[in-house]
Subunit: 365 residues, 2 copies
């Protein structure tokens, strides 16, 4: 076995099922009969790997529109997908205009100053009209002003952001959607987009011309009561058992001795720590899946390892080098998010750099 | 200006002062008149960049011994430093023996099975004797057994891990140290090491032959009442202002509207979000430094941006594209750790991948 295989075999792994991401895209796109569907691949495709996710969607679906957060991500994506339409959420700084144009990337203009910078360009752009999130985007007054003046922009998209799309019954959603519909009516020839993952499930009024899911592509739940049918988790994280220890009653484990054995105990040390992103020092109720059962994380998570309690008989056959699931079919993102110091979005975007990463196209290979 | 400069200018940045890391090393090494001093560079040198930190220490100090967490990190470090001594904390799996030897990397053997795997090798190795942390390492019974039998290992180091070295007065420290001294006495020709960053400040009894600081090299505080004299923070994280908004009283900001303006407010959006690691969704008291003053983070941190309140007069001159310090001379790791959902170790090892990274050797260039 060569060095590469040895290192691969002994490492914790991130396994990404790209076919699930493709299927999730199709499921989300299927929620509308009329609207197109883009893919949000910012933050390295939510930590999963933009260089693998974006081509999988481009090559195996009709997804042609991608959203990233900033121009660096846009330029990186352009190297991967030469023909895709790429929008950048965070807008543009004065010195970025030429770079946007040179790389055929479309800025989402967020205020009058940015509109001014793009005013004389023939290349397409988008405008973000703020309907209540009060982060980026044109304010209500700036929106009115823009709609009342003539502009020479080559607008290929207008968009807005929902504040709480995962709360289906909250009146803010309808208020935002109606504000956006009014704007859209005044720009009848420009495609419009307001629906993120949660927005897609608010119904057809929210689909407009383009839906733009992010977390649900990857199988995360933005906060809906349950993950919609057809949306599956695309990633799995597995560690390996480094060592097994027998402890007497009263012996404590790890830094600051925050866990003490209340019975003669058998513990296993796994080769994943807080530097790998999934488990955090302040986690107190995390579990992993090993030998067909859930096992509790005990003691303080260390930088490069974590201890689990495998005293119970059901773990008798657990041994060194066994795989341990930290995230996957048995520990879903939803389960992890419920007990974690962090939320599902953070668990994804915080995936560490040390995993041996495997990408599988499944039936689409 | 070329694409590279444009992207660099508009990005949030991680600035690493390698000269500070070099000086911190010298300060720590100076705490003992007799012991040598290694550098712990696991987890990508605590998130800062092993490929820059390790050569800086090797080329500008007499540091010749480096510790990493696993064999992948060891092989990566060997590519960078061909002559350094490299130890791997997490021990070895059965199929790794040849890879350790081929790359001249020394395993830290953590149990009798691992000792058995290395028994017939002439290459040097270390043994970890557990004195109470109950993670990896030989248990008390295994230690006795090892000391009572003849072994043929080429032992270049023995070590142990302190449970709570940052609590100077806790009796566990002395108990561990004395246990380890007893073991060391029985292996009189083998260099010994128990002091991590905190352990160095427990005094000469803890220095043995080799000290091995980690977080203090980088200027983090493992939990001492205050950062010792001469230890300085080596990193700075800066974002840029994307946009400034004027809000009326009653307008809310960000997802789920958790912050509402109680007065006419001026807010700024910064191009750093939870995907960049520093600020987390559950943070409620984080601050940043802009225009010579601290400004509070408001609302829910987004994936790619965060809002701050710059209503006060002292922020009047703040404008788009201004730099904002998230970590640095004015927001120390200690200050950040106090208000963060995460601790200092996690803030370091969680540094995101999107920063424009700058490494500066300062006076050592």
């Amino acid at each position: 076995m060569g060095t590469k295989d040895v290192l691969k075999n002994s490492s914790a792994s991130l396994n990404v099922d790209l076919s699930v991401i493709i299927d999730n895209y199709q499921t989300l796109k299927g929620k509308s009969n009329t609207a197109d569907c883009a893919a949000v691949v910012k933050a390295n495709a939510y930590g999963i790997g933009m260089d693998k996710v974006a081509p999988a969607l481009y090559n195996h679906t009709k997804c042609r529109i991608f959203f990233v957060a900033n121009l660096v991500e846009g330029v990186n994506l352009r190297k991967i997908l030469s023909a895709a339409t790429i929008y950048v959420f965070n807008g543009l700084f004065p010195d970025q205009v030429d770079t946007y144009i040179d790389h055929n990337i479309r800025p989402i203009l967020n205020n009058p100053a940015q509109i001014g910078l793009w005013q004389n360009e023939k290349a397409p752009c988008a405008i973000h009209f703020d309907t209540g999130i009060n982060r980026l985007g044109l304010s209500e007054a700036q929106t009115d002003e823009f709609l009342n003046e003539k502009h020479q922009l080559n607008l290929s998209l207008i968009l807005s952001h929902l504040v709480r799309s995962e709360e289906a019954d909250h009146p803010t959603n309808r208020t935002q959607m109606e504000k956006f519909r009014k704007i859209s009516t005044e720009l009848p020839n420009v495609p419009a987009s307001i629906a993120n993952s949660g927005g897609i499930f608010l119904g057809p009024d929210y689909h407009f011309n383009l839906m733009r899911p992010g977390i649900m592509l990857y199988g995360g739940n933005p906060g809906l009561p349950k993950l919609p049918d057809g949306i599956k988790q695309s990633i799995e994280i597995k560690g390996k058992i480094l060592q097994i220890r027998e402890l007497d009653t009263g012996m404590s484990v790890g830094y600051n001795a925050i866990w003490t054995a209340s019975r003669p105990s058998r513990i296993a040390l796994i080769n994943v720590g807080y530097a790998d992103g999934q488990l955090k020092v302040s986690d107190r109720h995390a579990k992993v899946f090993v030998a067909g059962n859930l096992a509790p994380v005990i003691g303080k998570v260390s930088m490069d390892m974590v201890a689990i309690d495998i005293t119970d008989e059901k773990f008798d056959r657990v041994t060194v080098a066994n795989d341990v699931e930290l995230l996957g079919a048995n520990i879903t993102l939803e389960m992890a998010g419920e007990v974690s110091t962090l939320g599902q979005y953070e668990l994804l975007t915080g995936i560490g750099q040390r995993y041996n990463k495997n990408y599988n196209l499944g039936a689409y290979a």
